[in-house]
Symmetry: C2
Subunit: 429 residues, 2 copies
């Protein structure tokens, strides 16, 4: 864990190093991924069966075995304990409500020149959601990816999830069913992204691919971009906690560790205006760490990427948070909304002393798929907007064209586009 | 030009071929672009000067010469004829008004569980706009890219434009000034995208890069994606015109040619329910073609990619248009809004017999930067949304956490994320 102090002489250099901490050795998997995509495009299902056998430690008897059946989904759902099912349902309902509130309205204008013009939102026809397999197979992510698509009005929502050793996570199936997913495929890695983008004999192509994944999945999304839409490419997760001395250090410590337990590349940063509180939190982290089953991961993350930054005042804290543009930002002060008003860049904010980020990971309602690695400067969390597109329209009659047409003719001629100019001029003759 | 008829036996195969017509031999420029980006990252301004000398047929005396001065912008603007300036101003005002109407509202909810939650829109700090140089240097594109950014509230809008032989287009400068652009750089190609994404000694990095460009520019945007946001990667332009026999064939022919004159890869498709009208339009295209200065380009486009599709009725026309998901769609029927209601996928629609697409290219108000090559299935035209991002937020007190926290604890435990669970549970003890 690094300690920084804005009053210290070496602060600028230390903070620059923190900003530059990429936290990922992006393995060069371009060529491997390109080969997998080419294989799936060329051989379809046969490639999926072979690649699944090679990477996922089980052998589908044929392409049909890649499809998760209704019966399997029902059985998986039935296997989930009732209290967990209730928790899943509360989460789903709240995510639905928050995303429904996001739905934008169409625009229709009739202007002084007599033109009618507007903008119409429409849902994508079909989307593919990637769900990581194994230990990182999170049912909450199924809800967070699938519900916005369904709320947006997407007709077909297909999930691809690798099933290492052939095993399916029942809670993932339950979440998929609750979220209204249309179909589930036991396919993972770059081959899943290729199948969703290009289609195979079994899997119909989709229009957009979303969801987190490893380096292969991320690179595959990058390579199919253009053929289909993709969401942002997620890096390791991070949190910035701005907290004053009135907080319980144990709470803040656990918030930092919650982030750190995701993986070794995760990053937890505390910004505080109180040196004693900084020490107390650091001590609380050290005390709590051994109690965690995921202590090796969380410890490694905290040691390698954790930081405690001492600031002179909270205005400075907001400025640093903006430079860090974190995925998650907790503001634990007396008036968190006042500080939040100074924040320009953050994926999601959690306000108050009783609002740990974990609430947002599961049940608050806003999405937990968020821009990482300083991309909150330009990117946003997943939302209904990821599953909608816009068509603009203009309607003109001869009188309206007479008002604006001559300007179009002048500009088209200036650009040397004669047919453009003539298409307007002809109609006004 | 291809002729298709939905009543003909070979229609399915012919239409499939039309859909698959990629219209671009995407040159493999990955390695060349990667080298240019690496060079700009390593050597900054020095690389820009050298690459400009190599590619743009002029030699900047130093990096300072890459910056277009206030005096140059003023001189360029003064060189524009008053009527053209008026046309530019009408276009800019209308584009501003339409994009201002798009500005979304923040969300703030206070729910039954006692949580406050919301979504706040914010503008990007800085964006870079690429403007192609030479013959494809379109002032209208400057307006279409820069105005939405300014309307969204972006503080810094930087333009990069190559100036082959050192020449600047005065109308581009005038458009940039009218649109409120902050700075203009005489830099083009992949090196411009690299400079905008990574910054050099002279050019500060931006958060998002937008604007059309050649294969090098497109590949460079693909490679910097993640470091900065990018807009969709534009392919060759296309139009689908749905028209009945009540139209003037000469109007429709000129609309098809307006699209075709962009470049040889452009595509113009007429869909009509009247065989005689189809013939009349085809004849009118042949007649009008020789009158155009850009006849070689338009003729090549029409011969290679043009198509006339005869349909049984207009419902069929709408269905085919959806499959084509065109960038531009003209609907020239008695009740164009009724047919438009059946359209699911199109970048922009132009409704009525007096609404040629060229109106939308310049003065209507909606953006002319639109999704090409069937990407309207999932992508949208440029808008204020490209220059905004969202931060979601949640605020909870102890009572509210008590309502939703236990579900978060249950789900976190099920996912094996103990510290997540504990960060909530601790606060409820």
């Amino acid at each position: 864990m690094k300690r920084l102090d804005t009053s210290a002489g070496d602060f600028e250099a230390d903070f620059a190093a923190l900003l530059d901490d990429a936290r990922e050795t992006t393995a060069r998997v371009d060529a491997a991924v390109a080969a997998i995509i080419a294989d799936v495009r060329a051989r379809g299902d046969a490639a999926l069966v072979e690649l699944t056998t090679r990477f996922d430690r089980w052998t589908p008897r044929d392409a049909g075995a890649l499809h998760v059946t209704e019966a399997e989904i029902a059985a998986g759902t039935a296997a989930v304990a009732p209290d967990l099912m209730e928790a899943l349902d509360l989460a789903a309902s709240r995510i639905e409500a928050f995303h429904a509130a996001q739905m934008p309205k169409d625009i229709a204008l009739h202007d002084a020149a007599g033109l009618k013009l507007g903008l119409r939102w429409g849902a994508l026809d079909a989307v593919g959601l990637y769900v990581p397999g194994g230990k990182a197979s999170y049912p909450s992510s199924v809800l967070m990816n699938a519900i916005p698509a369904r709320v947006a009005g997407v007709g077909r929502v297909a999930i691809c999830v690798p099933t290492p050793d052939g095993e399916l996570n029942p809670l993932v199936l339950a979440a998929a069913q609750r979220a209204g997913v249309s179909e589930i495929w036991r396919v993972g890695g770059a081959q899943a992204i290729a199948a969703l983008a290009w289609g195979t004999e079994s899997i119909a192509p989709v229009d957009r691919v979303a969801g987190p994944g490893n380096a292969y999945v991320a690179e595959a999304k990058r390579q199919v971009f253009g053929r289909v839409g993709i969401d942002s490419i997620a890096g390791p997760s991070e949190v910035v906690v701005i907290a004053d001395a009135a907080n319980d250090p144990a709470h803040v410590a656990m918030d930092l560790l919650a982030q750190a337990e995701h993986d070794e590349s995760a990053q937890s940063i505390l910004i505080t205006n109180d040196a004693g509180f900084a020490d107390a939190v650091a001590a609380a982290v050290t005390a709590a760490l051994p109690t965690l089953p995921r202590a090796p991961i969380a410890g490694e993350s905290w040691r390698r990427h954790g930081a405690v930054i001492l600031v002179r005042d909270m205005a400075e804290a907001a400025a640093l948070a903006n430079l860090l543009s974190p995925e998650h930002l907790q503001i634990m002060t007396a008036d968190p909304q006042a500080l939040f008003a100074r924040i320009r860049h953050a994926g999601a904010a959690f306000l108050g002393r009783f609002c740990p980020e974990a609430v947002g990971d599961y049940v608050a309602g806003p999405n937990h798929v968020l821009p990482t690695g300083r991309t909150a400067r330009f990117a946003s969390g997943l939302s209904v907007f990821d599953f909608l597109k816009r068509t603009t329209w203009v309607e003109a009659d001869r009188a309206a064209l007479g008002k604006v047409g001559p300007a179009a003719v002048a500009l088209a001629r200036a650009e040397g586009l004669t047919a453009h100019a003539e298409s307007v001029a002809l109609r006004l003759r």
